[in-house]
C-alpha cells in the first residue's frame, strides 16, 4: 500500500512549459532524493505528490488508487508531509504540536487517549526534543522547530514520507540523525522521498535520485547512475570537484 506511483505527471508551475512527464514508481524501502536549484519546482512536486496541489496533467497513485479518489483523511493515514514552512497562528506547546499527528486516526468526538500521548512522546524522544515538551513552539530555535515538525509526522506514522528539506536549520549531528531516521523508516518498509539542497547528504543517504531542472525537464534513476558530475554541474550551473570519503562521493563547489 505504501507504493507511490506517478503516471505522465506534469506539475503545475505557473508560466513554465510542460517539460518531462514524470513516470516514477517509488517502492517501499526506497529513499528518493529530489535535487534541483532554487525555483526548479521541488516543493511543488512534493505538494503535488501529497495531493495538496493539482497537477497540470497526469496522476498520482497511492498503492493502486488514484490520489484524487481518496478522501484527505484516507490520504493522511498513509502519507505524511514535512513542510518547509510552518505557520504558528496561535501559540501551542511542543507536545500539542506533535499530538496533532494523531488527527487522521481519531473520530470527531474522540479525545486523544493515553496511546496517542505515548506515541507523541516517543516521537519527541526520537527527535531529541522531549525535554522541550511543555515549551511554546514559537520560543524554539529554527532547528528545534524543524525537529518538532519531524516528530509530528513521526507521530502520524505514515507509510509514505514526503519531506521538504528535512535537514533545514539543523546542526551537523542532527542532520545525520534525521537522515538516519529517514533511512530507518525506509528499512521498516516505508517509502521516503525528500527534497534536498545538500548533494552530499543525498549522495550518502538516498538510493534513488530525481534531478529537476528549472525548465521542467527531469531525469531519475538509481543514485550511482545519477551522480554524474557533468549532469550535476549543468543542474546547478556550478563547477564541482569530487573527492571520495568512506566510499561515498563528496561534491565541493569550485571557486570560480
Amino acid at each position: 500500500m505504501s507504493r507511490l506511483v506517478t503516471q505522465d505527471l506534469i506539475i503545475n508551475v505557473p508560466g513554465r512549459g510542460d517539460g518531462t512527464a514524470l513516470n516514477i514508481a517509488i517502492e517501499p524501502g526506497q529513499v528518493w532524493g529530489v535535487l534541483g536549484p532554487n525555483g526548479a519546482g521541488k516543493t511543488t512536486l512534493l505538494h503535488t505528490l501529497a495531493g495538496l496541489n493539482a497537477p497540470r496533467s497526469g496522476q498520482v497513485l497511492l498503492g493502486e488508487q488514484p490520489l484524487e479518489t481518496l478522501s484527505r483523511r484516507q490520504v493522511a493515514q498513509m502519507l505524511g508531509v514535512v513542510f518547509q514552512e510552518r505557520l504558528d497562528g496561535f501559540p501551542a506547546t511542543v507536545l500539542e504540536t506533535a499530538l496533532i499527528g494523531r488527527h487522521p486516526y481519531l473520530s470527531p468526538w474522540q479525545m486523544e487517549g493515553a496511546d496517542d500521548y505515548a506515541q507523541a512522546e516517543a516521537a519527541l524522544e526520537r527527535l531529541d526534543v522531549a525535554h522541550l515538551r511543555d515549551r511554546l513552539v514559537s520560543t524554539l530555535s529554527g532547528g528545534e522547530r524543524q525537529r518538532v515538525a519531524m516528530a509530528t509526522v513521526l507521530t502520524q506514522a505514515p507509510s509514505i514520507w514526503l519531506a521538504d528539506e528535512p535537514t533545514n536549520h539543523l546542526d551537523l549531528h542532527h542532520q545525520s540523525a534525521v537522515m538516519a531516521l529517514m533511512a530507518q523508516q525506509a528499512a521498516q518498509g516505508s517509502t521516503v522521498m525528500m527534497c534536498l539542497h545538500d548533494l552530499n547528504l543525498a549522495a550518502r543517504w538516498c538510493d534513488h535520485l530525481l534531478l529537476l531542472y528549472p525548465s521542467g525537464e527531469a531525469c531519475w534513476g538509481a543514485r550511482d547512475s545519477m551522480l554524474v558530475p557533468s549532469a550535476l554541474e549543468r543542474l546547478y550551473h556550478q563547477r564541482l570537484a569530487v573527492v571520495e570519503v568512506e566510499g561515498a562521493p563528496v561534491f565541493v563547489p569550485i571557486k570560480e
Binding site: H47, Q74, V81, R86, F90, A92, I100, P104
Partner: protein, 331 residues
C-alpha cells in the same frame, strides 16, 4: 482530559449563574440573592402569592430574566463567532465587526426597520445582510485564486468601512422620529430584547455542532496546507465556519443591535488563560461572553438609572482598555 476540559468550564458555569443572580437582583428594586432564589423557586413551585412577592415575581420573571438571558445569549454568540473567525483567519484580531459581518447584518436589519417590518422579517433581513457581506468578502478574496489571511482581513476591513458609510446614509435619509430608536439599536441595546429562547437555543446548538469539529479547527489553526496534510477537508470546513459565524452574528445583531469588542476580547483573554484547544475555548467563549455581556447590561441599565445606557457603550468602554492592556502585556 475530561478534568482539563471540565474544571474551567465548571468554573465559568458557576460564574455565569452568579452573574445571573446579580443581574436579576439589581435594579430599581433591589432583591437579595435569597429573594431572587425564592422568586425563581416560587415560580417553579407556584407558591408565595402575596402582593409584594407577586410584584417582585413579575419584575424578575417578565422584565429582568428575559433581558438577562438575552444578554447572555448575545454575548455568547458574539464571542463564539469571534473565536471561529480568529481560527479561520489565523489572526487574533479577527472578529465579526472587523470583517464586515455585523455591518452587513445591521444594514439588513435597518432596511427592514425603515420598511416598517418587524420581528422575524428583521431577523431574516439581518441574516441576509450578514450572508451578502460574507459572500462579498470571500468572493472578492477568492476570485483571483488563493487567498491569504491578511488579504481577507483587509478586504473585510474595507467592506466594513463601506457598510459604515451606507449606515450613515440610511440614517441621514430616515425620518426624524425613527432616528433615536435606530441609533440606540446601532449602539447595541438590550432594552427591547424579550425573547431569549431562540438565540439561547442557537448558542447551545452551535456548541454541540462545533465541539466535534474542535480538533479539526485546532489543526486548521496551523495553516490550510498543514491541515490538509493531516486529513482535514479544508475548503468545506472554512465555508462551514464562515457561514456559522454569519448566522451567529446575524442572530446577535437582530437581538441586540451592534455590540462591539465581545468577539475580540473574550476569546483573546480565554486563550491567554486556557491555551488554544478549540474544544475548550469555544464552549468557554459561550459561557464567558454571555457572563460578560450580562454583567455589562446590568451596569448599563443601573449606572445612571432611571435612564439607561446602550450596552454597546459599556462593552466598548470596558473592552478598549482591556484589549490595549492585554496587547501591551503580551509582548
Amino acid at each position: 482530559m475530561l478534568v482539563r476540559l471540565g474544571f474551567p468550564l465548571g468554573l465559568l458555569l458557576l460564574a455565569a449563574l452568579a452573574s445571573l443572580i446579580i443581574a436579576l437582583g439589581i435594579g430599581s428594586a433591589q432583591l437579595s440573592p435569597g429573594q431572587v432564589w425564592q422568586v425563581v423557586l416560587g415560580h417553579l413551585g407556584d407558591i408565595g402569592q402575596d402582593e409584594g412577592n407577586a410584584l417582585a415575581r413579575t419584575m424578575v420573571l417578565e422584565l429582568r430574566l428575559p433581558r438577562a438571558l438575552s444578554a447572555f445569549a448575545v454575548g455568547g454568540l458574539l464571542a463564539v463567532a469571534g473565536a471561529l473567525m480568529q481560527v479561520l483567519l489565523r489572526n487574533p484580531l479577527a472578529d465579526p465587526y472587523v470583517l464586515g459581518l455585523s455591518g452587513g447584518a445591521s444594514i439588513g436589519a435597518l432596511a427592514a426597520m425603515l420598511g416598517g417590518l418587524g420581528g422575524l422579517a428583521i431577523s431574516g433581513s439581518a441574516f441576509g445582510g450578514a450572508l451578502v457581506s460574507t459572500l462579498l468578502v470571500f468572493g472578492l478574496v477568492h476570485g483571483s485564486g488563493s487567498w491569504t489571511p491578511s488579504r481577507l482581513l483587509l478586504t473585510g476591513v474595507v467592506v466594513a468601512a463601506g457598510w459604515g458609510a451606507v449606515i450613515t446614509l440610511m440614517l441621514a435619509l430616515s425620518p426624524a422620529e425613527r432616528l433615536p430608536g435606530m441609533l440606540y439599536w446601532l449602539m447595541g441595546d438590550l432594552s427591547y430584547a424579550r425573547a431569549p429562547w431562540s438565540p439561547l437555543l442557537l448558542l447551545l446548538a452551535t456548541c454541540v455542532i462545533v465541539m466535534p469539529l474542535g480538533r479539526s479547527l485546532n489543526v486548521l489553526a496551523r495553516g490550510p496546507q498543514q491541515a490538509a496534510a493531516l486529513g482535514v477537508a479544508v475548503r468545506p470546513l472554512e465555508w462551514c465556519i464562515y457561514i456559522v459565524a454569519s448566522l451567529l452574528t446575524a442572530a446577535a445583531v437582530t437581538t441586540a443591535g451592534s455590540i462591539g469588542f465581545v468577539g475580540l476580547v473574550v476569546p483573546h483573554m480565554l486563550r491567554l488563560l486556557l491555551g488554544n484547544d478549540q474544544r475548550l475555548i469555544l464552549p468557554a467563549c459561550a459561557l464567558a461572553g454571555g457572563t460578560l455581556l450580562m454583567l455589562a447590561d446590568t451596569l448599563a441599565r443601573t449606572m445612571i438609572a432611571p435612564e439607561q445606557l446602550p450596552v454597546g457603550v459599556i462593552t466598548a468602554l470596558l473592552g478598549v482598555p482591556t484589549f490595549l492592556f492585554l496587547l501591551y502585556r503580551s509582548r
